[in-house]
Assembly symmetry: D2
Homo-oligomer: 476 residues x 4
């Protein structure tokens, strides 16, 4: 607001002080205007105050915040608990309109504006990260699994008779359950187990399955980029070529792949050289917001729009607000810095794990197509296979979070499908191993701390195992 108009004859504050102060604010107004006009990530992050100011101005545009109103509808975005109102900056109406997540909500001009702007910023971010051909994207207030489900249901509307989804095996339930819940039939394509223990996409198997089942019965290919080593990112470029060849839709689960320029370039190439229809990534892992959102993106604007249209009814704007505030607080440079640091920390983690492995008689399992996760063998604990969970919980108890100890031999039946060596992504895996990841936001100090604790845990577990072995020996 222009205080100068009101501060008549300097009654409240000397005019020159006020002029200077208002002039100093101008560059902030400019930044705000630029954001709204260009709809691109700001170069540098904004201050908290600046972000909150814009958010509050937007919130005031929603009808529940109109000063004079009579609400005689069934849904008036009244908020009973003031703590809740406050934490949502008085946004209450959600986004979308019955029957289309991207439709403007007449009662909520502010929410609508924020949602559209956020989607524009996300598209800018995707381009910035290397998927230059991406045409459209939107933030779904659904975690990745549910977002994949929505994609599958949308694809099915175009090909109602096709029941099969060719899915490159990855032992993480969400995506698999998406296929099941969609009422479709997953066809599991086991990856290829290489000599060094790493896993790569079995392209031949993919092609064989297409031929066996028939293109007309296949809804789509479903691949995954980011995953736990020693599984590699799926070879999405070659799968995309197959998809193009057989005219089959290709859905990529890019769960936490947006943070890696390696994976985003794979995506860009896959689309250029073959066919990718939709790719989905979670906001929590790629944008460091609380769990609950995903970015659904694609290379064809209409298809992406169709996914949004398949979403029935309004939806939460909480995820939009989180992402919007986060993008403004980081700015392009802030995000690219996080990306750069993550990459450096990944190299550091690899170096530390390599060292640790060598000094303890184990091997780093090379997975060159995995830029985020690393694995090292646990051969000497192989005998203790069934005891390995203890080692895992030993690490967790000591504050190492996210490291996974993977034993072999676990059989798991999920929705009627049996997975041998569940957790290893392959039925023929023979060596137990430990995986760790360098995800966005990880710090060098965390890695150092982790290996210090790992050392202690290793020693404790080793001596416990020796004890047990001795006892067994003695008792025999």
């Amino acid at each position: 607001m222009d205080f100068r108009k009101i501060n008549i004859s300097g009654k409240l504050v000397p005019e020159n002080y006020l002029k200077l102060a208002q002039d100093a604010q101008k560059c902030k107004e400019t930044e705000k205007n630029e954001l709204l006009e260009k709809r691109k990530l700001p170069l540098n992050g904004w201050t908290e105050t600046h972000i909150e100011e814009l958010v509050q101005q937007l919130s005031l545009l929603d009808s529940n915040n109109f000063p004079k109103k009579s609400g005689v509808g069934e849904r008036e975005a009244r908020i009973a608990c003031s703590l809740v109102a406050r934490r949502h900056y008085n946004f209450g109406h959600g986004i979308g309109r019955s029957g289309d997540l991207l439709e403007a909500q007449p009662k909520a001009a502010g929410s609508t504006l924020m949602a559209n702007l956020t989607n524009a910023l996300l598209l800018d971010l995707i381009h910035e990260m290397g998927v230059r051909s991406c045409r459209s994207c939107f933030l779904a207030p659904l975690a990745t699994g549910m977002s994949l489900l929505l994609c599958l249901l949308t694809l099915r509307q175009q090909k109602p008779a096709a029941k099969y989804v060719l899915w490159s095996r990855i032992d993480q339930k969400s995506c698999f359950k998406s296929i099941i819940t969609a009422g479709l039939k997953p066809v599991i394509v086991e990856p290829q187990l290489n000599d060094n223990g790493s896993l790569t996409t079995n392209l031949q198997a993919f092609e064989e399955k297409v031929k066996a089942i028939g293109e007309e019965n296949i809804l789509c290919f479903c691949t995954t980029t980011s995953c736990f080593a020693p599984r590699n990112s799926d070879d999405i470029i070659n799968v995309a070529k197959l998809a193009a060849q057989y005219e089959l839709p290709h859905l990529v689960n890019n769960a936490y792949g947006l943070q890696s320029t390696y994976l985003t370039h794979q995506l860009e190439q896959a689309q250029r050289l073959g066919r990718v229809d939709l790719f989905v990534q979670s906001t929590d892992k790629n944008l460091l917001v609380p769990v609950g959102g995903a970015i659904i993106a694609g290379f064809n604007e209409q298809l992406v729009r169709n996914v949004a249209k398949a979403y029935p009814g309004r939806a939460s704007s909480a995820q939009t607000l989180d992402v919007f505030m986060t993008l403004l607080s980081l700015g392009r440079n802030g995000y690219l810095n996080l990306v750069k640091e993550r990459k450096a920390n990944f190299e550091y983690l690899r170096m530390r794990m390599q060292e640790f492995a060598v000094s303890h008689g184990e091997l780093l399992l090379e997975a060159k197509g995995n830029p985020i996760s690393l694995a090292m063998s646990l051969r000497q604990f192989q005998d203790a296979n069934m005891e390995l969970t203890k080692f895992g919980s030993m690490l967790y108890t000591r504050g190492i979070s996210g490291a996974r100890v993977v034993a072999v031999g676990d059989r798991r039946k999920i929705e009627g499908h049996e997975f041998i060596n569940w957790g290893t992504h392959h039925s023929a895996t023979r060596t137990a191993y430990l995986t760790m990841a360098a995800g966005l936001g990880i710090t060098k100090a965390e890695i150092d701390n982790c290996f210090q604790k790992l050392q202690v845990s290793w020693e404790t577990f080793s001596s416990q195992q020796s004890e047990i072995k001795k006892k067994i020996k003695n008792s025999n």
Copy 2:
């Protein structure tokens, strides 16, 4: 914490002052313990401070808030923007675990506890409101439409071959789109148009459709309770009887019906005398939180659990937090008061609308089975049918939000299905009308204000119409 232990020899504060202060806090500890042990709504609402204290204590139980931790996983619930962290009380991990929304999340003991407790409180609320036989419910971080979709997909897992959903027509897109997006075929059962303009469920048509299509091909019945007058709540008791008779699942869209004891008693009776499998209600309209959540409830614990299991992956805990804080801030008495006030305001709204209708030569369209929404005819504007939207936007511009002016004659094609007189729920409706609702949280002042504005708008619109008619006459 026990400050007395630390305040050695009263160095920081005299011991008797401290003792008294700590004693005064005891009843709050007791309340907290009771909440967690009994898992019932507290009788009276808690203060903001008390609520925030518990929420923060829970948040500290999530691993991202552990003081000493090394995160080497792909998902560590790091939060980049401190505004976001703050508004989520540092909750980041969401709820559920890949493949089950109700499974405990090992990294997030606090979130898990809060989610389970919230679900328990919601069940208590449902019982309190009259659906005593309800066995299980959970808060889905999805708005109503998406929640209905999840229910339909779950039901289909049990009866994969059944394609048809018998749906009592209601002209609101969400539910209809849920059926479409689920890949199912809606069978539209038009309600019965009564002489007084009200609409009731066409039971006979339901039965005829069952016979025509065959039970084995029908996935479920889908009915709606809360709706815009002059449509009544579906006669869910008799539909439930039909469902029992034909052994067909019955899904009830109870969108904003939880706030009405009339509708909850209908639900209870429907289940007692017939069959209801699942009923879904939105949290925004029934609990006055921002849009984004729904309560999925049922009379069979396993079925409700199956719906939760069908949700692939983790999900946002934002809705849980909103509902948890709101339930604590209201308490049982606070909620029941809101319910009582709403009922009184509904009667007041009816009285005002009746008066207005009579004094302006119109009729209140009686819909006795609709305890929330009311309609009055707009016969004198009937000629101006196509202009009626102007009247609607006149009301909205003046700050009346949620009133709907419904004209006749709109044909709408949605996903291949044509709806004649879209908006009126019936193809034979002949009179335009105005609807208003007394939703939870409405105030008497709002109603007074509304009729004052309505009066002004009515006069303006009337005279504009007269002008137009005159001009037309003159030009002839």
Copy 3:
């Protein structure tokens, strides 16, 4: 900000939605402009959002919040802890300038504006409450005692040789200590003890002291309005007449008197008929903000300004912010409602205490010139005099806060002056009593609750006393 300019061709939200939303905001802008132009209390309270918006806009005008700045001074209002920055809405520069609390601070246009506006609103409030002749006032970021000290030091600058302050005895240390700390000599004027136990100003003693000490040696009269019954408000009208007669300054401690129209009218009359120079009231008790501020007001603009000038250096703006937000949140009607409710609750408290006294064989000690506090005798506990503190702490332990049990016989020496029957305001008091007050914000429920607990405590204490008497009797 004008979003319409930026939302080019409706890219972010349809133009008509945005227009409507921005139009709806206009009345808020109008309110803001009115506030700043007229500098009067708004009629009705503002919403939290509206208040915070204005506060944030003001804060941005302070130089520490300028987007581009290099701070090479010794005081740049940097804030190290973000929690602190947040709770002060990024205000850091305080108010005033070295050597004048009311001077505009060049580095802090926003703080200056807020401080001046707050002072203007306070003046409006004082007028509204009945002190129509008040010419000037300002909020001192000092509690009442320290504010009185500042007034005394200012008065002394004009009459450096005068050492004596004639002070109508009230047994509350702050004001007395102000005189001592100022390096002045208090002359204690004991009030007159009436037959019904109430205390009124001893005008005759005042006049005698003036004659004995000599006007030229007397700095000022110091009287108190609000106080604990059975002491009455000082008869400030007649003291003011004396002050006028002898040309002596008159300082009124109106501690919590601004909330009572009775006391404010006394002030107005005192000034009209005699002389009042300055009157001081605390913000916590009169405006329901945290302890720490006082309003220093007077009938001569220059004198009030001199008090502000006597304040050396800058000062905290925390109190300004609290008062500013509170005044906006209440509005004139909100404040007047609080005043009305307090008055009604005072009558209710009187009625309850009267009833209680009668039914327990005690007396309400009538103090007609005390519109806030009430006292009832504790004659039957008179014997137990020294045990009475136990009764007091019994009440406090049960949650009755602010009730005072006053025994007779306590001698207290403060800074060389002896007070007989300390606590009773008079050396000849003979009856112990209990006082209670109906302060601003008190509720009927609190009073009910209080008498319930009082009843229980009374019974317990009575029977304990009987036990003790019995034992003494037996042991004799």
Copy 4:
């Protein structure tokens, strides 16, 4: 709270998850206990969540936050505006008790505890910074000037007849006004002007004044450490020796000196070798909190206590809360880091100013006893003396805040005392100059930015001056 007791049979969350989570919290409890037991600064800063948790727990110990209470007193710490309550974490009672700032407040055990703990932490900080002999200190909710006033009033209680304060001239109004407002007579001791333009304490003049006035008539010496170059810190060691010799109290205005180990060591030495009674420092400049508090410290516990006792009535706890949160957020290491960085930035500023001076034909005015502020001559603008304010405002308009352009020739009369060359601290100053300071929290980027803007301003001003000179020449 112990959730495990309540989570009976793991109903809400699996027991092992909960155990782990509660174990992870233990170290935080330990930190809290240590803080309260040892009353020393924590080694490392706490997280925001941790700080807020403790603050909220303390706030709950105040009676206004007791769940069940009836307030029938005149001061119940009710807070009308929820924004205000929230920003004060529901603290309302302030600190102290009528007549003693350090007395425990029975209604506010939490505030009392926090205040005492904060004072203990501040004492630890003062020790840590090098004033090891400091015996006692407390946070006064008053800015420096007002705190000095309180010290003077306290000293006077012990020596009521002494009227004179020997004050080493420093051209900043606050301290001087403190003396005036206290009703005392300042004796201005002009510093010694050295050849290089720097100013040092005139010890000889001090001694001469003592002899001329007489010890018995002198209340105290008043010196200043931190100040604008080219004035140096007063030679407090030698003034302290004089004070000891003549048995005169010595009050040191250590305004922003706590941040400099050089100045704190001077203080320590002054006390060891001579006499310092009280030293006062502001919290905003030394602790980076908003303006409004000062630390009053001394070497004799009773004297410091007497200052607190001289404060009449309760006081705001806002400053306590700010300082408490800031100290916890920084921890000892955080504070020492700030101190270290400031020192490095001071050296950088000196280097940049030296370079700038040399390259522009000016001189850095060496003031070796000033570790915070620097000055450079403006000889070439000397002619433009009266225009120099334009140069100053040019800098400010460009965002350089805190730089001061000091012209010679300003005469100022303050409270009857005339200051020749006001602003330069000396009546014989001959050269105009520019000062800048490297205060706590300054960044290298700010300095770089500053010199860039200085360069531009210099050029502009120079050419403007040349223009003017030319015109004058031409017009002659």
